[in-house]
Symmetry: C2
Subunit: 253 residues, 2 copies
């Protein structure tokens, strides 16, 4: 059974007070951070971690992230993030996640695409080649056809005028010196009203990352609504440079 | 010795990746959240926690917070937050903290003043009276004269024009429906440049909380510099209503 698969990482957490949002469930920020932490730990366990990345002067970069939640665990609830690598191709890995409660509740699933890039060159590194050169590295592909995984959505939509702009500051910036991938999700959800976010659950978030943004840069948010559904497309740009694009899907109210 | 004092709470943590800021040390946000979590857990252990608060329909409110750090622990470093109640008077408690590394390094200390208020009435509740009515509640006062505790600073300074304004959104709001106490620290540190925060350590932050702010409210930040020192005073107001006041002290560069 998959529970015995040694190539799946299992990481246990509890939703701590002050890590929830106003609805009493784990904040999207902390949920996103937990996914990144698990990806990082699991990759490290296979020789691809931050230590290896530093030796090779390269860093993992998140290219796409899709999170689909049936519901988010509430304060004091336990959950386990399972993570595994589904495939490796050229400079990318497809990494999947399942968020499961102690009682077996499947809170949700997620998928991500990561690339390894040179810290200085910012250019992608071939994972296949790196594995050949460093036999201690291994990322074994795990296929779990019984687990529903959200495939990245095609994000379409264009707005001509920004609905909001913000300047990236200290609290947006992570250890790599750029705006943290998950912090964009905060800025995106901040576009919706307190009332809407209280009445309707966000069911799914798709993120596509294009370029890095840095401290003191002004970023513009463009919002459009998909036709006939309560789904939204948000583009974040620095002048004309696309930084990231998101799709937010609300559950039917 | 104090290590054996059963009325001190000891809570162990490690600085996890993605919980640091760009300097590679625990972010001020997460450090602040950890202090709140420890206060909450320790009070709960003495019958004053969130469960009791809900039965009594009251919540803890942070009135003052002072954090003084020699340095902040870096990624993967262990630390322990010790917390204890120094005194209880009328509707307030003085709660102190010490942040200590596994090797005995004293990273810093903190002090806070908390009040218990009615969830509906928003009026303070007498802690002394509550303890008399509920004998299962006990907050034993612990005096540790050997531990340096930062006394709250007098925060003086007035600026006439705001340097920045922001509107509170989803990511600012906590489970009580108001702007989270620690989130103000983010907004305050965001006033300083990436370069300054990279070159100089923030040594100490004093916060005084006056009023609650809610989602969609516009808040103005006023900044002044103390004479002759690299210390800053920040006031946050909603129109003319003071929300909180802070003092930020940088270490000599």
């Amino acid at each position: 059974m998959t529970e015995g698969n040694q190539h799946i990482g299992y990481y246990h957490f509890v939703v701590e007070p002050f890590h929830e949002d106003f609805t009493g469930h784990i904040s999207w920020n902390l949920l996103g951070i937990r996914l990144l932490q698990c990806a990082s730990k699991h990759a490290a366990a296979y020789g691809f971690g931050s230590v290896m990345a530093e030796q090779e002067a390269c860093i993992w970069v998140l290219s796409r992230l899709t999170i689909e939640m049936n519901r988010r665990p509430a304060t004091h609830q336990d959950y386990c993030i399972e993570t595994w690598v589904d495939s490796i191709y050229r400079q990318f890995t497809n990494r999947y996640y399942r968020i499961v409660g102690a009682d077996g509740t499947v809170y949700g699933t997620a998928s991500s695409i990561w690339a390894l890039i040179g810290r200085e060159s910012r250019r992608p590194i071939s994972l296949e080649k790196l594995q050949q050169e460093h036999p201690t590295m291994s990322l074994i592909e795990v296929h779990r056809p019984e687990v529903h995984i959200p495939e990245p959505a095609r994000i379409k939509g264009h707005a001509s005028e920004p609905v909001r702009s913000f300047t990236a500051h200290y609290s947006d910036i992570d250890i790599n010196g750029h705006v943290n991938s998950i912090r964009y999700i905060d800025h995106i959800l901040d576009l919706f009203s307190f009332e809407k976010l209280g009445e309707q659950e966000v069911r799914r978030i798709d993120m596509t990352y294009s370029s890095e943004a840095f401290c003191h840069q002004k970023l513009d948010l463009y919002l459009t609504q998909e036709e006939a559904e309560d789904n939204y497309v948000i583009e974040i740009k620095r002048s004309d440079t696309p930084i990231c694009k998101a799709r937010v899907e609300f559950a039917a109210s």
